[in-house]
Amino acid sequence: MTESSHGHPGAGASAADGVQPVGATAEQPEPRPRRDGAAAGPEAGGTITLQVLRYRPDREDAPYLQDFEVPWRTETSVLDALTWVKDNLEPSLTFRWSCRMAICGSCGFMLNGEPKLGCESFVRDYAPGPLRIEPLANHAVERDLVVDLEPFMASLRAVQPYVISDDRHPVPEPGNRQTPEQMVAYGQYSQCINCMLCYAACPQVGLATDFLGPAAVTLAVRYNKDSRDHGADSRLPILDNEGGIWPCTFVGACSTVCPKGVDPAAAIQQAKGATAQAWAAEFILPHRGEGR
């Protein structure tokens, strides 16, 4: 297995950093049993060049692409391929992953410029390559494929993503109950796994840095539509804000890339409608006639 650098003068030093060159016909990744238990289809495989973005803040001032030749088979996911690189070629390669089944939302990368989950993207779909793997766009890069999560976490915290009850609406006995209709009202928006692919797809996240972003607004809408929740008034100032829902220009890419079909674009447009209604209602009946 060979390892080469791409576009960075310092990359050639990696062999001296403990990288062990491995023959191109060396170990193939062990095939995993298919999840559906069905017989494997026509076997495909070979090698593919991964062009992985590297950024080691202690060594480089700017990211660069590094090439890795990786063996693949029909069932090799992009995450498998990265893990193979880490195990066999470049132990310092840094990336996030956890569940390997599109639940945890950790392994979001830009694959040939598109935001995807590494665990549910297969190398076979990018053969013969090369496959460019970069960290999620519109995020500060901490190291290699790891991005800074803190702005996203701050957005999530800001929208109060939990059921809020108040004195006027105490939790009834024997507890909150919902009809199937009430669950459907917010169900789609509760499927978000916080993978941040929508943030990587949204140009407004890159342009308007204070934008709450698709997932955070979706989460706010998810709770606003929950019959058990009474926090819409509390979330309104967060959403109806210069950096709230209004930077969204309805590009719609957030919904296209969502691996769970959550449709954040729909959530944001509905939030705009609800916010405009609240604004108009304030003229007709200030504070809903309840005073403050």
Binding site: R96, C104, G252, Q270
Partner: protein, 158 residues
């Protein structure tokens, strides 16, 4: 989210000084040096979806120019016969004709793309299901047809 390595350093800057648990060790000096990529000015050309979005947005600019032309016509009408005739002759200018044809095309682009987007905004729940997107889009075309018919007959069938 968990990480595959322990490479990520905990930030120790402003706002992160409070320890989350009593047993947590004091934060060491940070070695973070995040690289912040910038968005290119030509981002809207990057992929097909962005280009479609850019076309939808720019279509309103062309329609805006057409409306501006109509406003100029109204002003000329107000100023008198000579001014009005100048504006009428201006309409046969090849540049103006091109603009008008482009405005028609862009009006169609603008209307159809927005009609196509309406199911995301208007979601009508019926029990545990939502009204299909097709019907939401169809009602916009129906309303457009009704509106066009009203205007047509209001103007005396031209």
């Amino acid at each position: 989210m968990s990480t595959s390595t322990g490479a990520r350093q905990e930030p120790t800057g402003a706002g992160r000084t409070g320890a989350r648990s009593p047993g947590r060790m004091p934060a060491a000096e940070t070695h973070r040096r995040p690289y912040r990529p910038t968005t290119k000015r030509t981002w809207f050309l990057a992929n097909r979806e962005y280009r479609a979005y850019a076309l939808r947005e720019v279509s309103s600019v062309v329609v805006g120019f057409f409306v501006f032309n109509l406003v100029v016509g109204l002003v000329c009408l107000h100023r008198g016969l000579e001014s009005w005739q100048w504006w009428v002759s201006l309409q046969t200018n090849p540049l103006n004709l091109t603009l008008t044809v482009l405005a028609v095309v862009m009006s169609l682009v603008h209307a159809t793309t927005w009609f196509q987007a309406t199911p995301k905004i208007i979601r009508i729940q019926r029990g545990t299901r939502y009204v299909a997107d097709f019907w939401v889009v169809a009602q916009h075309y129906l309303l457009l047809a009704v509106f066009a018919a009203v205007v047509y007959f209001w103007l005396g069938g031209l």
